[in-house]
């Protein structure tokens, strides 16, 4: 039971990342290859703000001169809110120069951001303790079951907010921009403004996910926030269904469940060291198969009828 809880908690956190990427790339055509970076901003912000002094004492005792983590000891709620806001803000700063340009530039810039964040995490010891990482991050209520409910709550909020935005007139502008910028501009919509909002909101939610991760794992290191995380999210969003939130959730469940733990259930075929490689192979094959035969994913985007729209708006 504990084991299932662990998988579901991790899946839940990845779901949030997936919904945010879906907002960026699925609904607004903004390729974000720096997911790990915004995830890290959220995780570190929350960790730095909430970790107790006890941790700093340990570090100082071990020879570390002392730094910011451990001096603030804020409650979890402050941690996650700050993580969300700061991640969104960093997204905003990057968006200013880059969103006027073609999407390709955003893809490259976002990779740069993730690398820069990684670099800061590794080297700004006074802020992040560097490669040893931050430990003893408090889990709220110190209860795994309650924490899972918290993750579900955040996931539900993120799902609802994005769903609401996409169904609104604002969502229409996003989808129109995604398809044809010239036409959308000719109808009086500001392309940069609508993209900036999608970008910032998505980055903010990635920060929230990062905060949840830090409090779940209770210890974080720069080495965790690597491009592999970013690409895993891309894979399950594509496989699950770009532009369909339910599809994204299914994708997360399947891919992350499989990647994280699922292969334990596979028989070893006499060669136990094959199994970890096997899971990567399976995921790779799944990605290729889906892109080739079903690019819309397991659950494709569906049109809404005007009658339904007027009932639910």
């Amino acid at each position: 039971m504990e084991y299932l809880l662990t998988i579901l908690t991790i899946v839940g956190i990845y779901c949030i990342l997936g919904l945010a990427l879906n907002l960026h790339f699925g609904y607004t055509n903004l390729p974000n290859f720096g997911i790990a970076g915004f995830f890290a901003i959220g995780a570190y912000t929350s960790a730095i703000l909430t970790v107790p002094y006890r941790f700093l004492e340990m570090e100082i005792f071990a020879g570390f001169p002392g730094g910011v983590p451990g001096r603030i000891e804020a409650p979890f709620i402050v941690g996650i809110l700050a993580a969300t806001v700061l991640s969104g803000f960093v997204g905003f700063l990057i968006g200013i120069p880059v969103l006027r340009l073609r999407e390709d530039y955003l893809a490259v810039a976002s990779i740069g951001v993730a690398e820069a964040i990684h670099f800061i995490a590794l080297n700004e010891l006074w802020l992040t303790i560097g490669s040893a990482g931050i430990r003893l991050i408090p889990m709220p209520f110190a209860n795994r079951y309650l924490f899972f409910l918290i993750v579900l709550l955040v996931l539900a909020i993120v799902y609802w907010v994005i769903s609401r935005l996409v169904r609104s007139p604002f969502g229409r502008v996003w989808r129109a921009t995604r398809e044809d910028e010239t036409v959308t501009a000719s109808l009086g919509k500001s392309i940069v403004r609508s993209r900036m909002w999608a970008w910032v909101i998505g980055c903010a939610f990635m920060g929230s996910a990062g905060s949840l991760w830090a409090h779940y794992a209770m210890a974080i290191q720069p080495g965790e926030f690597v491009p592999t995380t970013t690409f895993l999210v891309w894979i399950f969003v594509i496989v699950g269904g770009l532009r369909n939130q339910k599809g994204v959730l299914i994708g997360a469940l399947v891919i992350i469940g499989l990647f994280e733990q699922g292969t334990r259930f596979l028989p070893a075929f006499g060669a136990p060291y094959v199994v970890p490689a096997l899971r990567l192979i399976i995921i790779g094959v799944l990605l290729v198969v889906f892109i080739r035969f079903r690019p819309e994913g397991v659950l494709p985007e569906r049109a809404t009828m005007i009658e339904d729209h007027m009932k639910t708006i």
Binding site: R175, V183, S186
Partner: protein, 252 residues
């Protein structure tokens, strides 16, 4: 008649190509002005300059007294000038109703905060849909309101393009070949709609067209453009009987 849109000696070059080479025109309020000329004369380029896709290299374009040369397309549309495209650019991945509901300006729901003012958004969506539904019915598109725009025929897509432009409630509408690809029936409908909008709502029109029956029947005055420059202008009869125009364009 007060002039609502003016182009003064507009020039637009692309490298060595003089697409618009000193073109001027005046569009009077509530008039349906025509712009004709052979293919390649520079009409669409002129439209693109007027709508903000390009900036004029020289010359001035003003709308309601304000200079609009150099503004972005969305800014120009917000001021009240809407244009349609020669090849109908329907947003194919969205449905017909989404296409027309996208168009109205200044929707509350179009900011992330506004999107959560449920009551306001619901009220506006209802109002806009009433108007849109009526418009779609007149254009014969109501039956396809839930279809993806890419599934419409070429003529239907033209009608959708025009409907969308109308939904922005503009003061002046720049139509680039509105009846290209339309059937005889659709052409009649479009012409009737243009006339109706001018009479009932006071819209001003600038229409680029190739079909003579459309131009001569509803446009007055008509400007003729050739090689990026003014060739002639005047009433339909004046233009039809103009020697140079006949030579260059009407084929004698």
């Amino acid at each position: 008649m007060a002039s609502i849109f003016e182009a003064k000696e507009v020039y637009k070059y692309f490298g060595g190509i003089k697409a618009v080479d000193g073109f001027s025109m005046d569009v009077g309020e509530k008039q349906i002005t025509g712009l004709i000329g052979p293919n390649g004369a520079g009409k669409t380029t002129f439209f693109n300059v007027a709508a903000g896709i390009y900036s004029p290299d020289r010359g001035e374009i003003s709308f309601k007294g304000d200079r609009i040369g150099g503004l972005r397309p969305d800014q120009i549309c917000q001021k009240g000038l809407t244009r349609t495209f020669q090849i109908a650019r329907g947003l194919g991945e969205m449905t017909v109703w989404e296409n027309v509901m996208l168009a109205p300006k200044r929707q509350t729901g179009e900011s992330p905060f506004g999107a959560f003012s449920f009551r306001q958004v619901r009220k506006q969506e209802k109002e806009h849909w009433e108007r849109a539904a009526g418009l779609l019915q007149e254009m014969g598109l109501y039956g396809q309101r839930n279809e993806y725009a890419r599934n419409l025929s070429a003529g239907e897509r033209k009608m959708l393009e025009i409907s969308r432009a109308i939904m922005t409630d503009p003061e002046i509408l720049l139509l680039d070949e509105p009846t290209a690809g339309a059937t005889v029936d659709e052409t009649k409908k479009i012409m009737a709609e243009i006339g109706r909008l001018r009479d009932e709502r006071g819209y001003t029109f600038l229409v680029v067209e190739h079909k003579m029956e459309v131009i001569m029947n509803i446009c007055n005055p008509i400007y003729v453009m050739h090689n990026g420059q003014n060739l002639a202008d005047g009433s339909p009869r004046e233009v039809q009987t103009n020697e140079q125009v006949r030579e260059v364009y009407l084929g004698g």
